[in-house]
Symmetry: C2
Subunit: 422 residues, 2 copies
């Protein structure tokens, strides 16, 4: 038997939830969405930053040699899973909007709130005023909370600057946070998040600015991996979205789309046509959109925190997507207006209760499918030899307790690339 060397072993896990499919490593849709691949009394061996072996504890201990300073952690009666992945967030901003939250509860309309200086434009104004360092401080706090709650990789969007300078400031903050913080960030340029106030009467001029100035600069500075557009009634039309997506693609950016959130505007269809990596929100997606996403391999990223927080009556047709074979991913949509949460655990509970996903499906959606939703499926999202050792030890003996227990934090330990970080 070949002997592997390990610098870290986690052993005796009541459930080692690997999410690894030995026949085909890929996102999991349809029936497979609920298949976790659980090793009872499982163990995982790490060398440096990567996983080298996964199996039953007895077998693993026999086949692995320890380095001199190796650490062996006993996870008896504990669940071990991959680190959670949050594939849709807006974590770098300034200010807070609890006043708007209060108004919304009191029954004030979107218009009332905007008149009182609330809404996305209040965040845009605050971000434009803030220095890069203030944005970083705020973002660091959010990433700290995310990590404490078990999230080890996060997609992070710009989209509160809405000028070339301020979008780049946000992306630069994201880049530096990625370098400085334990959590890995995947940067997305979302200059087309909203039409800024100064362009309200000439939105096409703003689209031109996004295409002719922002995307080229963001691309040449290598500040983003993805480009995203808020395609929605009253925001960017499908026609405008198409122009932005074409430009982004030409400049080598991968694509994401805020699609069919409030109205079915054909966002899912556009995402499929352009081969976007993911289409997100999808509350109002239709059958044709689901069909085309499936054909094109677009991953649906659902945001049940947002429907919950906004009190929307309509919810994404989750079971329909899963039954059609789509690999559903989940995300917090962490942002100051419509989903002020850092907790993927909370999102998992909400997806169970409101979207009727099973505990197994939500765990798949928050790990391997979320990894594919940010094009990291080959590096993270499952406990497989060769992948990064991003892992959570849970204060639970059964993985179903993670969404079952709500509003708190069931994490006991978090490992990022083989290092214990919480």
């Amino acid at each position: 038997m070949q002997t592997l060397t390990a610098s870290l072993i986690i052993k005796n896990a009541s459930q080692l939830v690997t999410l690894h499919d030995p026949k085909k490593i890929g996102p999991k849709g349809g029936k497979a969405q609920g298949e976790l691949n659980i090793i009872k009394n499982g163990a995982v061996a790490i060398y440096g930053s990567r996983i080298v072996a996964v199996s039953g504890t007895n077998k693993l201990l026999k086949s692995v040699a320890l380095t001199k300073n190796a650490r062996v952690i006993d996870a008896e009666k504990k669940v071990v899973t991959p680190g959670l992945i949050d594939p849709h967030t807006h974590p770098v901003f300034a200010g807070e909007r609890s006043g708007e939250f209060e108004m919304r509860i009191a029954g004030k309309t979107y218009l009332d709130i905007a008149k009182a200086g609330g809404g996305i434009n209040s965040t845009v104004a605050a971000v434009r005023k803030a220095s890069k360092n203030v944005l970083k401080e705020n973002g660091r706090k959010i990433l700290d909370r995310m990590l404490t709650l078990g999230t080890t990789t996060v997609e992070a969007k710009s989209g509160y600057g809405l000028t070339t300078k301020d979008e780049i400031k946000q992306l630069q903050a994201i880049k530096e946070l990625n370098e400085e913080h334990e959590v890995d960030l995947v940067p997305t340029f979302l200059g087309a998040h909203e039409i800024p106030p100064e362009y309200k009467k000439r939105p096409d001029d703003y689209v031109a600015l996004v295409c002719n100035e922002m995307i080229p600069k963001v691309s040449s500075k290598e500040l983003a991996e993805f480009c995203d557009v808020f395609c929605e009634k009253g925001v960017f039309t499908p026609k405008q979205t198409r122009v932005i997506l074409q430009t982004a693609q030409a400049f080598g950016l991968k694509l994401k789309l805020h699609a069919d959130e409030f109205y079915n505007t054909g966002g899912a269809e556009l995402a499929a046509e352009f081969g976007a990596v993911s289409a997100d929100h999808l509350i109002s997606v239709g059958d044709e959109g689901i069909h085309l996403m499936h054909k094109a391999g677009v991953i649906p990223v659902l945001l049940p925190g947002t429907t919950f927080y906004l009190g929307l009556k309509k919810e994404a047709p989750t079971r329909k997507m899963i039954e059609k074979g789509l690999p559903v991913a989940l995300a917090t949509d962490c942002n100051p207006g419509s989903s002020m949460t850092e907790s993927m655990q909370m999102i998992m509970t909400l997806a169970c209760l409101n979207y009727k996903m099973s505990p197994a499906e939500v765990l798949t959606a928050s790990t391997i499918n979320a990894a594919f939703a940010i094009d990291r499926g080959n590096e993270i999202g499952s406990l497989s030899p060769g992948k990064y050792a991003d892992m959570v030890i849970w204060d639970a003996g059964d993985y179903r307790e993670i969404p079952y227990h709500f509003g708190g934090n069931m994490v006991e330990r978090v490992f990022k690339k083989g290092e214990m970080v919480r």
Copy 2:
């Protein structure tokens, strides 16, 4: 100017939310439910376990002398509030019911779940088997989480033993936890939580056991301060409830009632008739019940975590109660079947979003009104000289951020009776 002595000062709070009404210290209903009494740049002085002064920072610092080893904490840009109080929980049990959670999401009925060995009877079986020490270990973990989340006093019910011996075992565990843990527990005897399987065909015999054996023993051993009954269709009838309440009252126990949760069975009316301290759940309470509770001074304890977790379409008529002048309190209902959460912060968010309470109203409901709901209104629940120094420093500059931010933990520091415990 008289000089007070302080062993601890918290100063410079952006908002010191005292909740103190100088004219009349009492629970806050009607318009007053939203009156927090906020001191900007506020400070609080503590001597030993009690608050000695509350005012603006400059004024307070001038009027207070420090003891030799006194600690001064700067809460700049932070909110300070009383410790949260959770007036309705079932925190001492064995086992977990995540399998039942999974079944419920998959659309299984109450009957399917019971047939599969789930439901309250599964917890009763686990508690009967468990030793007192196991119950304590489980309860301690829950109390640890509650404290971390800012809760400093908790009402704790028995009700999973349903034999004299096992109810006493639960209450004994609660008593010892109260002695050993930083969180203060207020014990409630809930022998009438459910009719145990062995009495299903002769429920009146179980009521007789509760009245003739359990209540006298619990009372003579001084193991409970309150008696509670689950008055509900299919559980205890109003007639049976009346007999139990009469007995409990005769044995010197104060009263609480699980009232009008699924059906309006006249629970609120009974609570009013008996002068209960609180009536809890109240999803189906009618106008007459609200009127009589108001007249009798019964505090409504609402449990929005339970309606959320069970996916109930109906919600307690909260605004009606507040408008009628009732002082609404909130609680987690922490229990393994219908509300597996320790977080009053989460409950506050749910009460805002689903019950349309304002951020100010939910804070009142989780502090001073919750204190009165467990008959501790004169000791805790507001920052007033003479009261215990149970306090939370929040990682927020505005109290509205507490419910606005959801699914995590906004607590920075927790103080219990003047000691920093988190």
